[in-house]
Structures are given as structure tokens and as C-alpha cells.
Point group: D2
Chain length 310, copies 4
């Protein structure tokens, strides 16, 4: 790797990326099924880089909280893996899902075992298992995010959670379907409440880049304690790279070349193992649900820095 | 990365890996549809590491030619990309394929555009396009492999090619199906001949580790000339990581954490960008078509060396 | 048609069919997910023929109530069609469903519109619509069945309904999934309660053969009033023939050649338009959920009488 | 059935149907992949009724030859069944196919056994088997059609056959795919030649209504000899009803209520067992490949006469 080497570089790179993004026309459209998200200006943009020592750099709206949505799936995965270990993989796979139209047929074909922890079905299983182990999956997540980001005000957005619950039939269908195969432990309504709360976390680019730091530190938390083994941290990164950006994982790997996880709130986190974590936010999405400016910014960042796993 | 740092280490690591593999019971079964492959002892094993400067280390049957099969898809992809550039991606995607049972339905659903260059349908498209550009796709491949490996005796195995042609109905179906969508240029029988010849290349671990060197050298060939841009080499590595091991790409990334490409002859190549290329061979396959001992050896190698992209 | 022509013939034919069935080894297995059904002896057998004038003939356990299950779907379809007319067909199709594994993917592919009223998803839609129009879909059904059969004691089996509700995750998944497309009006728990009650109707062969009489009388009820137009009655028969026996509709048409509808309780009703209606019961099922002895008995009946629509 | 009873009625009914069709706007579009079909005026219309004794009635272009296309599948099915008997059903199913998008996935899921003899894959299997038994499947078909219609000039349209062969990649894909499962006996190019010739038969409404007469005569040919047993004739009618009109079999049964088989040339044959056979032709197709005016005319015919199997 021909990576830049000093911390000041990150700030320079971020500013250069932000300038280029600013000049780019076309930003996609915010998710429209949640009113609070639909109202956002698709031209908003923020980006942060966190170094393993906790130093954080940012540009634009990098301190503006946004709806983390599916980005939280990385953290619940790590939290459950830390408690449960490898038996989790008997209940959820780690293969890419191929194609959106397959979501349900694959679940049927594969007897209620979701393809990976980042499709909705898989995240429901992970939340279900974490909830069984902790009695409060969403609370466990919130506590972890606050600790790692150092932001005690980070919280759920109850309005967003209620909006999601009001459009929850699809997730209810997935949960009942997996329950019919014995792959859900908790009552479906309880699980859905946990799931929608978890997705509603409002956090900033700075918060999420810091919170993901354990993935750049080979499993070690901000306070030096270990959440995951080095091998487990590598494995979470691998699952992010192959499955983290909906049906565009191949394209994301091709363009950005980093483990990443996106959410329909317009955020994306990415990891350069051993080097840094990134979080970018811009609410306009492409047709596959990934932030248009977010992917473009990560593409530019890796090109400018030479940081890529490949 | 906490990688070992001297070339002598590679030899030590290979020997240690070979010892551990030797003690492992269970090796899977050789591919049985090609008589020449079915007859192989599943306990045969070889492994080689090639450094960017061309130094090569090996253990076991590392100089024994075997049938490269789908490993050749990496090279035809690179050769066509080098000539054609990004228009290739209008004819083949770069997303994981999800599931074997989807192979045809996805092709139908996506109007004859295969998911990626490493499923058979995608490799047929790449070979078709390379053949249009060169008039002799298989010959172009052979010349490249000879030059990069420095082995002028590397050649096709005509018996294997004939066996494949004798079981070619499935590939003929794929080719005609894509032709019905206008995504094949050459007459199907000509294309199939090229494809089966290409798959029949017999090469050793040493040959293939050396031939893949351009992927560790960011696109530069053994003679210092450039085949691919640095960006293109990164992209080929990304496609290998997300799509290179049939329906086990997620599991391979999780366990091994390197871009890799397997073949039903029992070989697997893998790339540590900037550091080295590997090739391992053992003819016993798991149910998804990847070498059992080969995946295990790469898993051990990355664990012992700490070399992984994550 | 070379049909037998006197009422005594029906009795003779039924006795002959029963004798042949008695000699037949192998009867399949009762549905095992409902304890009350699983406990039934698969060798039990009853069969009844009802003439348009209400004369009914029977053999074996023809007066023994059994769980009607999916046979009730014919009646709720007719009751909703009678009230709603053709707009029903904007919410449910009338094409065969092809294959069990497709049930969910087809629903997804076709945007929440089930293929026909006899797959579970379609029956949920019909019940939902009847419930919206009547405020008590199951009650409406029960009243109709009692009136047509002349049996005021015909009722729901609350134990069976409770068993179904306890295994209701799959139907809950279907209902929520269609609700996500806006194709369900009532709250899902209310709909499921109606649906499970409806399926739990306990009725005998005599009851159900009489209750289906309107389909042989071109839409006219037992009391001479009209439920469906002649054209609608013909259409319900057509949907039964093409979609009435799960994934075996083609085979049932081929062997029996009559519009029919089966249930996992082991019952099957069939219609000879203008001539008679039949109901057969034997609780042992084949792998597609149809009564083994029931299909065999109808096959024999049509062969002996020459009664078939073809 | 409240059917009209004299032969003069048929002529009156046909004229009334033709008048109503004449006033109907919108006729769909001719198949565009075969130039000779694409050039036809979609307002052309002919219809014939053949009585079991060979009396034939007609209206409009009822003596105009058109391209029979998939209508021929009924005859090859009957010819092969007559020779082979029930073992045919080990190589092709008799269930509706559900959905066009499933054509290939079902074939894959069901190991190369097509769903029924009227999807292209199934017709290829039937032709293959008839060809093995006769050495000239297309010739056998032609001889049969000439004998039954009494028209010795009925022949193949070589231009149409050549057009089909020029667009034959999809059928080649199906044939090779089934061959990969061992379900095709003859070399694929030979089979395709037979298949395209067979589809290219040019025949008139009168010819085809007469040729289908054995299906109304319970298996007996025009000369009084028996082609199929009564049971087999009933079975062919059943397969036509459940599978004869592409993905619209349910809708066709619902609207028309007769066993029928359509072709992309715009023809449809239909059977009233024991009463008559019909053939209608109008080249404009709906989006599922059935003649728009043809279906409408059969719908009117059955409404006016009360002739329907339901």
C-alpha cells in the first residue's frame, strides 16, 4: 500500500473529497417510507475518519446525528458474536444474498436460515439471539455505542422507530416465516420492537467512525478491553466486505475495496484494518439503497490515499 | 498486519502447513465427470508461494501439473480487461451469484447478463469477447501463462478438453441461452471449443502462483510491462474475493480473508496484494467444488503469517 | 358421456368403489402438525354423492364429521364472489401456482397478488375481503354450510382451530407480506383468527356433498334461491379444476377429470356439473397433501360411471 | 348442459360470433420474431366447428392456411402416447407451469423433467421421443394431419421453419439443458430441425378442427380406427385444459371452459368432448401469446351455446 502516513493527511484528504463531492450533480433520493428521512436534503454531506487511537477528523456535517439504520447491524453482530461465539453461524449464514428478488425464496429454499447477518432476515435473527442473551438487545447496543463514541447523548429516535413499526409488515413476514422454521426464539412482536428501536439510533459520522474502531483495532475496544478476538474481528470485516452493501457488495468491493456497511438513512461505515475507520453520510440513495455521495466519497478517498484492502 | 517478514519464512510456513494438512483426515472427492480427474488420489497435496520478484517457494507436489480448470477464468478476465476495458462490464456483472440453484433463473431474470465473470456463464462471455478480439482466446491465454510462469512446456490437456466437450450440454445451454439475448458474438460451437481448451490447461502450483504475480504487483507483468492499471488489478482482486470460490465466497473470505479463485481440478490461487501470490493443489473437493485441503491450507497459512486483507 | 342414469346406480357404484379401496394397501399418512388429525386411522374411509335434488347416497364413514380444512376455501370464494363480484379478481389471480417452492417468490414477483384463491395466500385474501363485507367471515361460512347441508349441528372444532393458531407462523408471514403490498384490509391477528376458525369446520361427507350442490346446480342454492350466476358457478368450477388440489391439479385433472378441492383433513369434494357432487374422506395423505384413498376412489368412480368433464 | 342441438345452429352461432368480433376494437399484435407472421393483418379472423361425423362449419377466413405452431404439440403428444403409452410421463410432467419466468428454474429444480408437454421444453421431449420411435417425427405428424383433415396439400412452411431455426437459441438452450440431465435421446441439432419443421405446419381452421376430431370422439380417428383409448383421449383433454394456453390456462378455463391449445400463429383449437371440435384463427396476440380475437370468439361461442365442460 502506498498510503499517506500522517494524521494531518486525513484532514486534507477529507476536505478534498468534500470539494469534489460538492461539485457533483445528482445525489439520489432519500428513503421515502420514513417521513423523518424523506424530508432530508439529499445534498447534505458529512464524513469522518477515526484513527485507532481515537483521533477523529471530519468534514461537512460530520457532527450531525442521522438515522444509523442498518449500520447498527454490524454492532449487534459483534455484540452477539462476543457473547455467543460460533454457534451463531448455525442460525445465519455468511454468504452474499445475490439478488433482492431472492430474499424470500432463498429463505424458503434454505429452510429459514438467512444468507447473512446483514440482510433484514439475518439481522432479525442476530437481534433475536442477542435479546435472548441480554434481555434488552437495543439497550445493549445503545450502551456500546455510547461507550465507544464517548457520546453519552447518543440515543434512539422514537419517531423513526414508530414510523418503521408502522411499515413493519415486511419484517413481520420475515420474522414469522423464520419462526415457522424454529429459527426465532422471542415472540415476534417483542423482536420487532427491539429491531425497530435498534435501527432508529441517531448518531453522527464522528460517533459511528469511533464506535467501529474495534474493527480497525483487531477486536479491541476504545478502553483497551477486548470485544472480539483478532480472528473474529477479521471475520466481521470479511462479512462486511462480501455482504455489507445490500445487492451492491460486488460493486462496492470493486469501486471502494473496503469492508463497509450502509444504511437507508444515508450513512456508510468502512474499515481499513489496522489503519482507520470511516463514516460518511449523505441522505440521497441509489436504487439499491446505498448513499450516492457516500459511495462516491469513499471511492475518492481510497483513490487519493491508496488505502484499500486489495 | 503482523506479517512475517523474510523470504525464508515462507518456506518454513509452507512446510508447517503441509505437516498439519498431512495429519488431517478427510479430503473430499475428486471431480468425477472427467475421468482424468476422477482417478487422482485425493491425498495429493502441493503448495507454492511466489514473491513479487519472482522468487518461488514450494512444498509437496508443487511442481506437478494439474488441471487448472476455472482458475484460468482469472487470466482470461485480466486479458480481456486489458484489451477491452470497462465496456466488458456491460456484458457481465460483478456481483456474487448467491446460490447454485439460481444460476439459470438469474440469467433469465437479468436478461442474459451473467452475474460475474467467474460463474460459468460469465466466463463464457469473457472468453467470447476475448476470442472476438484475438481470434484465438485459448492461444492468447496459453501464451500469457507460459510467459509469466517462465514455463514454455505448459500446455493444454487434450484428453481433458475432450472429456469436457463430451459433457458440455450444460455449458452449451448457457451459451445458447445468452445468445438468445444477443450476449454472445461467436458461433456457440466455436466458443465452446475455446472454452473447453482454456479450462484444460495443465499447470503446476509454481506455474500458477507465478502467473498470478501481476495481481500482487498491482497490474505489472513479470517482465515489468503493465497488463492492467493499478486500479484494474485492485478490481480483479475485489471480484476474486467476492465471487472467486463458487457459492462459498463468503465462507472463503471469512476463513481465509484473501482474494482467491478455485477450480474443480483441486487448485486454488490466492493473492496478498503487494506481498505474494499463492497456489495450492489437492484434488479432493467439498460439496461446493473447492479443494478441501486447499482451503484448509490457505486458512492455516493466513493464520500462521497474519497475512490477510482484513 | 356414457353415464349411469338412476339413483340406485350411485349407491351400487359407491359400494363397489369402497370394496376396491378396502383391498388397496397403503393409505399415506395423516397430517401431523395438528394433533387431532395426526391421531386418525389412515384406513378410515367414507364417500357420499349428492344429487341436485338433495338426494344423498353414501358408503363407509360418510356421516362421520372430519376437519374440512381447505375444502372451506371453495365456499368462502363463492360467498365473497356472490357479494363482491369481479373486483375480487383484482386482488387474487386464477392461475395455477406451479410449484410449492414458488409460493413466496411468486407472491413477491407478483407484488402481493396471490396466484389463485386456493393457495393459502389467496384464501387469506378471500377471507379478508369476506370479513370486511360481513364482519364475521367464519360465521357467514358456518351459516351457509348449515343451511345447505341441512345440518344445524355442523360447527367449528375449537381444538383444531387452536392447534392451527399455534402453528400459524407461516400463514402470519403470508398475511403480513401481502399487507406490506396493501392487499390485506383487516388487522393480521383478526384475519388469522377468522381463517383458522373457518378451516376448523367439522363436517361429514354427506354435509359437504350437499353444501357443494350449488356448483352442480349452476349457482342455485338448496332452497332454490340463487347464490351465483350460472356463469360464476362455471367459473368457480374452472378454478377448482385448474387449482383445487395443491400442486397436483394437473394430475388430478388427468386421473379424475372433475373440478375438485382437497383439504389436509383428508377430504375432497368434486363436482359433475348438472349431475351430482361428491365428497370423499380418508385421512391418509400423499406427499402433496391430497388423500391417497380419496383420489383413488374418485378415479374409480369416474371410470365406473364414465362421469368426467372430458 | 343447455346446449343447442342442431347442426344449423353451429353455422348461426359462428356467424353471430364473427359479427360480434368484427365490431370489437383492439386485436393485439402478431408475433414479431417470424417475419412471415409479423406481416399478417391482426384483423383477419376465421373460425370452424367440426362435428364428430366430419361435418364442418365455418366463417370468415376458415379455409385460409396459417402457421399452426404450438397447436401441433397436441398432435405429437397424441401420436407419441399412442405408440409409447404411459412411460412418456416419466420424461415429462402434466402439471401447469405457473409462470413464464419459471420456465428454466423449474427445469433445473425438477432435474430436467419439463412440467408438461405444452411448454417448449416438454414439446421438445415429446418430439424427441416420437422421433426415436418413428425416425421422422415431423413426417409422422404431417401424415396424420393430412389423413384426419382430408387435405393432402397440407404441408410445412419451409420459410417459417427457417425463420424459427434462425431464432432457435432459446430452444437450443432448453434442449441442451435437458440433454445434460439425460432426458434427450437424439442429437440436439437433429431434434431442433424436427421441432421447427413440426411447428411450421400451415393448416386452416377447417383442417385443424377436423384433425382434432379424435379428441371429441374419445380417441377414434376419422376412419373409425382407434388412435388413443377413451381414457387416454380424456387425459389429453385434461392436459389441454390445465396447460394448453401458456401461462393463461387458468384464465382460459375460467372464461372459455374448454380444453384448448393455442399457437403464436394466432390459432386456437378447443374440444367439447362428445360434441365437436373448434378452431379459431386471428393473428393478433395478447401479452401471453394467445390470440386476442380467438379467445374472445371462444368465450362468445361457449356463452351462446352453453357448451362448456363446467
Amino acid at each position: 500500500m502506498a498510503a499517506m502516513s500522517t494524521t494531518t493527511d486525513y484532514q486534507e484528504v477529507l476536505e478534498r473529497v468534500a470539494e469534489e463531492i460538492e461539485r457533483t450533480p445528482g445525489r439520489g433520493r432519500p428513503a421515502d417510507y420514513i417521513p423523518a428521512l424523506a424530508a432530508l436534503d439529499p445534498r447534505r454531506f458529512g464524513m469522518a475518519v477515526a484513527e485507532p487511537d481515537g483521533t477523529v477528523h471530519g468534514v461537512g456535517d460530520w457532527r450531525q446525528p442521522f438515522s444509523a439504520q442498518s449500520i447498527t447491524k454490524v454492532f449487534t453482530l459483534a455484540l452477539d458474536l462476543a457473547r455467543e461465539g460460533d454457534t451463531l453461524w448455525e442460525h445465519v449464514g455468511r454468504e452474499p444474498s445475490g439478488n433482492p428478488f431472492n430474499s424470500l425464496v432463498q429463505l424458503e429454499y434454505e429452510n429459514g436460515i438467512p444468507r447473512n447477518p446483514f440482510v433484514n432476515a439475518g439481522a432479525l435473527v442476530v437481534t433475536d439471539r442477542l435479546h435472548t442473551r441480554t434481555g434488552d438487545a437495543a439497550g445493549e447496543l445503545l450502551e456500546f455505542l455510547r461507550a465507544e463514541s464517548g457520546n453519552p447523548e447518543l440515543t434512539f429516535d422514537e419517531e423513526v422507530a414508530a414510523s418503521e413499526a408502522g411499515h413493519g409488515d415486511r419484517n413481520a413476514a420475515l420474522a414469522h416465516f423464520m419462526a415457522s422454521y424454529g429459527n426465532i426464539d422471542n415472540p415476534v412482536p417483542d423482536l420487532l420492537e427491539q429491531y425497530f428501536r435498534q435501527c432508529s439510533v441517531a448518531a453522527s459520522c464522528a460517533d459511528l467512525a469511533l464506535a467501529a474502531g474495534f474493527l480497525a483495532r483487531h477486536g479491541v475496544r476504545a478502553d483497551g478491553s477486548r470485544l472480539l478476538s483478532s480472528r473474529q474481528a477479521k471475520q466481521v470485516n470479511a462479512v462486511m466486505l462480501t455482504c455489507g452493501t445490500y445487492d451492491a457488495a460486488g460493486d462496492f468491493a470493486y469501486r471502494v475495496g473496503l469492508p463497509g456497511k450502509s444504511g437507508v438513512g444515508g450513512g456508510i461505515i468502512a474499515v481499513v484494518p489496522g489503519r482507520c475507520t470511516l463514516c460518511v453520510w449523505s441522505p440521497g440513495l441509489d436504487e439499491r439503497g446505498n448513499s450516492v455521495a457516500g459511495v462516491a466519497a469513499l471511492d475518492r478517498f481510497t483513490t487519493l490515499t491508496g488505502l484499500s484492502v486489495f
